[in-house]
Amino acid sequence: MWTVLYKKELGAFFYGYTAYFVFVAYLLLSMVCACFDGLYFVTDNPSMRSYFACQPAVLAMVMPVISMRLWAEETKTGTEEILLTLPIGNFALVSAKIAAGWTVGTLMLLMSVPLAASTMLLVATDPLNIASAYGGVWLTVMVLTVLGGVVSALTALPFAAYLISLVLSLLLMNINLSPLLRPLAEKLPDAPFGLSGALDFPAHYMAFMDGHFGPADIFYFLSLGGVLLVLNWMVVGNKRSGI
């Protein structure tokens, strides 16, 4: 049943223009960002670093296009009433939608592989470093899909879901909570992974980009995605409170 739902959700992105729009928008924004803001060519030493450096901002703009339709579109068109009265468990519903969104995000990332391949042909670049950076981007795609899924489940209008997801994504990526946690970190100097940087998105993302990520960085993305997934499950469960 999960597979049936996953296929339906994935198909919905390709029946219309959403997936194709997202692919084109992602590549355009990434290239503009890497070439102009990141000085991909100007430095005369093309590397993927400028590309990966601007990925969080690009993903914050593009991923909400994918996530906004997960629930808000169903609410808007009324199909939510059908979906929530089908014999499908809440977790299966949520996870199938998130998995479909993450799949579209993954395909979107794969569109940029030719750029990585041609860059490696031009300059001596460590392929493992590039793979590590892609890992960070892929996990960011996952987190933003689930974050957008929560917002989409709480919103009846897809465009409102887009805007709120965009703002929350940018906040997540730019707010450094270290100063707030510093007093606690000083009291608990031996806390696992170092509390002060535990919730710092840029630090964890940079670790992947630099190719020396550790368990704390993987744990950060997985736990953030997990918490948001549970939140999404709770929101849908609340919608479907039953009798």
Partner: protein, 241 residues
């Protein structure tokens, strides 16, 4: 088959359902009648588990919602008002999706699909995208999706809205046949629909169940013997909300 006890539902300060209670069994085709805003859609939504009541309960085959939710939903087919379907899918894809959700075996699905699409006259549009369908075809595709897995309880909100007279007759005939072995609950504000279709009428007005009787008994409340007059007399006391 279904027991509804003391249902109460309030939106803000407005009580939409006031202590609704009735029971129904397989073999019945029940029409839920009432003026706009009487609480028909809310009642159907609660019966199908889409909405929770503030008080009261619904049991299907002796099972109440809660931990039995998925088990109950396996035996229900529900078509909401305005037939919301996935516009980007073809009719065939949508029916296959529903069949997959209800874990129908390939053979059963093929048999059911052949029969239902033939009877509802939608065989020719199986490959057509839902967004390109006329209102009548869309409505019949919605009915097919509700009944494709042969639920024991079929709940349809305004099932013949938008159909031409011939299509109405065919759909009504089809629903009557389906109700021979199952329970069909439809909502409408069309009196002719209630008379043409049902064995029993539940008349809701102002959130209260004003009448639960065979359709012929409805006329007893009329001064001139017409259904319209009976409807007017029974519903004007509370009026529309």
């Amino acid at each position: 088959m279904i027991e509804v006890n003391g249902l109460v539902k309030t939106f803000g300060r407005r009580q939409v359902l006031k202590n609704i209670a009735f029971s129904a069994r397989s073999g019945e085709l029940i029409t839920l009648l009432g003026p706009n805003g009487a609480g028909k859609t809310t009642l159907l939504r609660i019966i199908c588990g889409y909405m929770a009541p503030d008080a009261g309960s619904v049991t299907v085959d002796g099972r109440a919602y809660g931990s039995n939710r998925l088990e109950i939903l396996r035996h229900i087919g529900y078509m909401p008002e305005n037939t919301p379907l996935y516009p980007e899918m073809t009719v065939g894809e949508y029916l296959r999706f529903i069949g997959g959700v209800f874990k129908m075996r390939a053979g059963d699905f093929a048999e059911s699909l052949g029969q239902i699409t033939e009877e509802l006259g939608i065989k020719d549009v199986l490959g057509q995208k839902i967004q390109t369908l006329s209102k009548g075809y869309k409505r019949r595709a919605g009915i097919a999706s509700v009944l494709i897995h042969r639920p024991r309880l079929a709940v349809l909100d305004e099932p013949t809205e938008g159909l031409d007279p011939n299509q109405k007759i065919e759909v009504r005939r089809f629903l009557r046949r389906y109700a021979e072995n199952n329970l069909v609950l439809i909502s409408t504000h069309l009196l002719e629909e209630a008379e043409a279709l049902s064995s029993r009428v539940l008349l809701l007005s102002g959130g209260r169940l004003k009448l639960d009787a065979p359709v012929d008994d409805l006329r007893k409340h009329s001064a001139d013997g017409t259904l319209a007059d009976a409807f007017y007399r029974l519903t004007r006391e509370t009026g529309e909300e």
